[in-house]
Each structure stands twice: as C-alpha cells, then as structure tokens.
Subunit: 436 residues, 2 copies
C-alpha cells in the first residue's frame, strides 16, 4: 500500500497546518505590504537589478533559507539558449534561496524576475514610479504588477511556512532572477547552475488565471529596400514605404494562417492566440525624397508546442514567396534578421497535477473556479521548460494590461489570494512532514 | 509706324553683336570653368551662403554692375508668403547686380540660388564634394548641377555682353538669392525690395528643356493615432502602423484623382504630373509593443495653375472622408499639418514671347528643337510669379537626377549651350541699343 495514512488522516495532515498558515497570513498582511513596498521602491531596471536583489537577500537571510548568490558567467552566455545583447553581469547577481525538504516529497521551483522595464515617459506617471504608494487597496509603482507583486506573494508564502514551523518533504526553491524582460538569461543560468525540480510556478501577471501553456516570442527585423528619387519625379524611384506595406500585409496573412491552425480550447476566448506584432517602422529623412530603405521591427508569437525554429521558417517562407512573385523584391530582396530578446514557449497538459492542485487551491481560497487559459506572452517558464525540462505553470496576481504601462499598480487583495493559493499548492505538492 | 528699322536692319542689329558675343564665349571658356569651380568650392549650404555670395559679389564688382547686397529682414519674414523655419539671416545676404539698360527695352531678371543642399553621407561621394574637380567634361561637386552651373551660365552671359560692349535697352537684373532649397524666402525678399521685371529666366536643372509651367509643392505632416498594447495581446490595442497604411492608401487615391484631371500636353510624357510623395514614416519604440502613433511626412505637388490653398483642401478632405467612414479615425482623427518649406507653382503660356525667344535661341545654338515641358518640381519662379506677377521660364544646364545626390556633377558643354542660349534670348528680349 502506497499511502501510509488513510485519506482522512492525510486531509488532517494538510488541513490543520493550512489553517495555521492561513491564519498567520491573515494576521500579517502589513508585513507583506511593507515588503512589497520596499521591493518596488528599488529601481531594479536592467543593470540595476542588485538594488532589488539586496531586499530579496536580506529577507531570505531573515527566513534562514540556504542562499546562493552568483553572477551570470560564460557557462550561460556561451549557451545556445542565451538570447541577449548583454555581456556585462558583474554586480547584478541571480539569487536562489532553498528551503530544504526532509525528503520524499516533490520539489518545486518558485520563480520571479527582479528586473523591471524602464518607466518610459516620467510625465505620464501621476505618482513617483518608485514610491510604492498605497491608495485604495492598490500599490503603485514600476514593477508592482510585473512582477514584484508576484514575487512578494512567493516570499510571503515561504515566510508563512517558516513562521508556522511547517516542514516540507520536497525542496522548495525560490529563484529571484535577472533578465526576464530581455530574454531569460537569468533563468537559463539557474538551470545551468543545477537548479531543477519536479515543477515550477511563476507568478507573472495572469490576473489569477492559470496558464499551463505559454506562448513564446521572438523579435525580427526586416530591411525593405527601394530606390531613391526626388519626390517630384517619384515615378523614377521605388518608394520603400510602399514596398514595406506589401511586406506588412504578407505578414498579416501569415498571422491569419498560423492562427487558423490553432484549435486548442485554452485559446477559445483569445482573438489571436499567437499574434505577430509590427512594433516599429522607420524610413526616410526628407519629405521631398523617395525613401530607399524601411526598417521594420516586430514580435512573432510562437505556439506553446511549436519549435522556435519552425516559426522562423514560416516567416522566412513568407518573404521568399514575395521575392519570388514580385519583380522588385526579386531584384532587391528584403532581408530578415532575428535579433535581441527571445522567449521560448512552454506547455503542460491541462490536467497535469500542478495545474489541478492550483485549481483546487484557488477554489478553496476564493470559492470560485479558476480560469485556465494559454498565455498571450512568453515568460521564463519557456526557458525552465526547454533548458531544464521542468513542467511550468504561470499563476500570479498582476494584470497584463498594467505591465509595462505608466501608473502601473497591483491590487493587494489579489496578492493575498495568490499567496494563499500558492501556499496551499506548495503544501500539497511538496507534502508536509508529519513532524511539523 | 512702330519699328524704326525694317526687319533686315533689326536682324543685322541682333546678328552682328550676337556673333561677337558668341565668339567671345567660345574664346573664353576657361574663364567660365574657373568661375564655376570657385563657386562650387565654396560650401554655401544653409547658413553658409555668404561664402558663395562672396565669389558672386567679387565677380559682379569686376563686371562693374550696380550691386545691392542686403540681409533679409522683417518685411520678408512677416510677409504671408514667407514659408520658412529660419529666423536668422545675418551675415548671409541676398545679392542683386543690375546692368542698367539705356531705356525703351523690356527688363529681364536672371535668377539663381546660391544655397546648396547638404552633402548627405560623405562616404557616398567618390570625390571631395567641394572640390569642383573637372573630369571628362564634367565638373563635380555639391551644387554643380543645382544650380551653380546655371548661375555661372548667367554670369558668363553678362560678362560676354559687357566684354563685347553691348548696350541693352532694357534692364538686366541678376539675382543671387539664398533660401531657394527651403521655401524661396530669398526671392520673396527681392520682390519686396522692389525688383521686378517684364520676365525672368531661372537656370534650374532642366537638362536644357524649357519649362513655362512649374509645379509647386508643399510639405505635410500627418499624425496617425493608435492605442498601445502588449504585442502578445495586440487585439487589445490599435496598431497605428496599420491605420497609417489606410491613410497612405487614401493619399495614393487622392494622387490618382488629382492627376487624372490634368490634360495639359506639356505633361504628356510625365507619368505622374503632380505627385504626392510619402518621404518619411516613424513609429514605435519597442518590437513587442503595439505603437500608438505614426508620424508621416511628405511632399504634395501643386498644379501650375492651382492655388496652394486648393491643394491643401484636397488633402484635408481626403482625411475628413477617412474620419467620417472609419470608426477608429472618427474616435481618434488623424491630424494634418503643413510645415517647413513651400514652393509656389507658376505658369505662363507655351507661346509666351519669353518661351519662343528661348526656343529660337536654343534652335539657333544647337540646331535642334527644344523640348517644352512642365517641371516636376518647384523653383523660386513660383515666388516671382505670385509675389511679383513676373512671367517666368525655367531653362538650365543641370539635370534633376543629379541634384541633391552624391557625386553631383554638371556637363560643361551644357553650361556653354545654356549660356549661349540665354545670351541670345537676353539680346532679343531686352533689345540692343544701336549705339552698341
């Protein structure tokens, strides 16, 4: 017989500590808010991640976790999954803090990124983007929703487990990584340093939905060529902007074709499951001249089950068809380049135990059914999945719409719900040692 | 009886001095080349026009012409035809040099601009852009074709008249103006200073064709708005680039309609008589974001007989129709702005005496018929025509294709032909005093 205790006994083993943990969480909400505030108050944009990590390290020391702090090195930057233009990581370490289990349980990674995107135009912010100001249940600031709110929920979950003297069987591995916003080099480094587990939860801003599948994405740059001429004799030239419109329209058709082939019910409420976005266009320097070059940049979504390389082939074939069919493109072929950041996709089954445990926990905490969907964006989950073969679920308190925007905020109520849901999932996944 | 002399006598009165002038021109070609070289060697880009004017002034003094040198002032900058973003003209004067006639003949303006466009990318030049180097009958350098070659032809024509002691009845007014490349403020200033005449020749690069009609042009800037979103949920935003494509396509249709209404035989060999050129597009700052703003800039051609205001209305109505028909544009209307430079159109009849005299002269010099066409670009002629009511013909030795380009050059043989054609036209138009 596999189970040492009958179901009832197991339920008691879970329920009694869970009740304690929940009670502690209810009693200590100001702790969580204060910690999140501290975290948001540190400007941990790219190159400044150390400021956020210092807050994390201090907290993990206080909790008595086994700390590992290191800077990304060659083993990462020379790895084929390293997609970044950054070469300098000195002073901005990754942090992993482990709560070692007593043995026999499944291990779990709790992963959050410490880097935040730039604030953009300061004038668009009504409050100081690094104030962490709380107003009407919302905590404001860059990174509050993406994803310091999620990270704070993880820390709070661990703190509750420690404070309630609960001993887990499986290892609980908390990762505070850099470089998520620029291509997952931080999470790649954790895998290469040997951190692996039976599952991982990443509290990116899902608005408390559960994402077992994540879209990947990669950046492309296309040069479209024309022939310059004076605007008054524009017929003597070829306007690169006109030719770029043809390229954009071909890409729109490609997006249609790629999405028409997706029938996954997790995408049923998503108008375009894996979009291709044209994010930048630049051409010309003089109103009276026919421009001879357009530079397009964009983001291509990658299906959860798709290989990045296959998505690349799709885009390349679209351009090849244009080159074949259009005499001008034949003479001056547009060039395609994959540059900058890249996020790998990831997928686990909808009924994977990590998903169902989170589902149950969410229902238990909120009384309502969790929404299960596929993510419209990439996360570090793709890297953990591809580099570490780790099953990943994304579930967090923030909301996509606020991420990267001015006046970013997070609803504190959702951070509590996320923390409570995650703590219950941890107790079930890693299991509680009877000695607790 | 109107004519004092029978036709034969008049022919002799023209032909004998003309023969002398032509002989002088043939004998003094190195003078012209040396002068043009000096002129090209001075970098007279905007703000540096004084360098080129110094060469002009020195030469006009040598020829004993009545000089007027002045800086553009308020009478010009506050005039409704002043289309420029420049406010500072100190140190960069206009120059007018008059060869006073003995009376009784028609006056003629010979107008050339001293300003040249920037060299662009120095690396694209095979020779020093201010060398004035001569190779195989071509003189190289910025401004050689646009339009120092033409100006040198004018100076050479006047020098020949002076050297051959020919006295004209009508005034010959040579204008070396600034600011042609940026909206004709220099030529506007000449009119406002009182310079007027019965006709004007401007030797812009027509490749020795005769242009009695000139297209005008003006610059527009359109802001097209979108709604930002993350690229992964691009359906939550409105991509300003997609909306800008709609605007561009509506402008293409407008261009078609405007040109379909032109039946002037002077345009019969011109694929698009008055083009609308999209010269610049800029949008977005991040491949993964849906851009919420596109800025388009372009040049709209104005028909020779059209009022600039009517062309503006055409463009505005095109946008208004989009705003009416498209719900998004209705909500976020694109904005239209007319900015920077503007060149007024100009037109005289194909059989105007200034045209026929140039035609005859050209045939006399080259033995072939001149091509009469309408210009694909604006010149200072539009300003002389609108501000001064002066009939204008454009006829010059350069070629459009080389203007504003790297490795600009002019064929010296064409400068000679232009100078000889112009000198004969001057003698016929202004008439020769019998005392000559």
């Amino acid at each position: 017989m596999f189970f040492l205790f009958p179901k009832k006994r197991r339920d008691y083993l879970l329920n009694e500590p869970l009740a304690r943990v929940n009670q502690w969480m209810d009693d200590n909400q100001p702790k969580l808010i204060r910690f999140l505030q501290q975290l948001v108050q540190e400007d941990s944009t790219r190159g400044n991640e150390y400021k956020g990590q210092a807050v994390i390290i201090e907290k993990c020391r206080e909790l008595g976790l086994a700390l590992d702090i290191w800077e990304i090195g060659k083993e990462t930057t020379e790895h084929p999954y390293f997609y970044s233009d950054r070469t300098e990581f000195i002073g901005n370490p990754n942090v992993v803090a482990t709560l070692r289990g007593s043995g026999g349980g499944k291990s779990l990674i709790l992963n959050g990124h410490i880097d935040v995107v730039p604030i953009g135009n300061r004038a668009d912010w009504k409050i100081d983007p690094f104030s962490g100001e709380v107003k009407e249940g919302k905590l404001y600031g860059r990174g509050s929703t993406d994803m310091k709110g999620g990270t704070a929920a993880l820390i709070y979950a661990m703190e509750a487990i420690k404070a309630c003297n609960i001993i887990l069987k499986g290892d609980l591995i908390f990762e505070s990584v850099i470089e998520e916003e620029s291509g997952s080099a931080g999470s790649l480094a954790t895998v290469l340093r040997g951190y692996n587990a039976d599952g991982a939860i990443i509290p990116e801003p899902t608005n408390l939905k559960i994402f077992p599948k994540q879209q990947g994405s990669l950046w492309f740059r296309i040069h479209v060529f024309g022939k310059s001429a004076h605007g008054g004799t524009r017929y003597e030239g070829v306007n690169a902007i006109e030719k770029a419109i043809q390229v954009i329209q071909a890409i729109e058709q490609l997006e249609k074709r790629r999405n028409a082939s997706i029938h996954d019910p997790l995408y049923k409420n998503i108008p375009i499951p894996v979009p291709i976005n044209i994010g930048k266009i630049a051409s010309g320097s003089w109103p009276s001249s026919v421009p001879d070059l357009v530079v397009l940049e964009g983001r291509m979504g990658v299906k959860p089950e798709e290989m990045v390389e296959d998505a690349m082939v799709d885009m390349d074939q679209t351009l090849q068809l244009l080159i074949k069919e259009d005499p001008w493109f034949n003479q001056k072929p547009p060039t395609l380049e994959w540059f900058g950041a890249r996020w790998l996709p990831s997928t686990i089954e909808k009924d994977h135990q990590l998903v169902t445990i989170l589902q149950d926990s969410y229902k238990n905490i909120t009384g309502t059914d969790a929404v299960i969907e596929a993510s419209p964006w990439g996360t570090d989950g793709g890297m953990l999945y591809h580099a570490g073969k780790i099953p990943v679920v994304i579930f967090g308190p923030g909301t996509t719409a606020l991420a990267h925007d001015s006046n970013e905020y997070i609803e504190l109520e959702k951070v509590f719900i996320a923390a409570k849901t995650i703590v219950q999932a941890v107790l079930q996944w890693c299991e509680i040692d009877e000695l607790s």
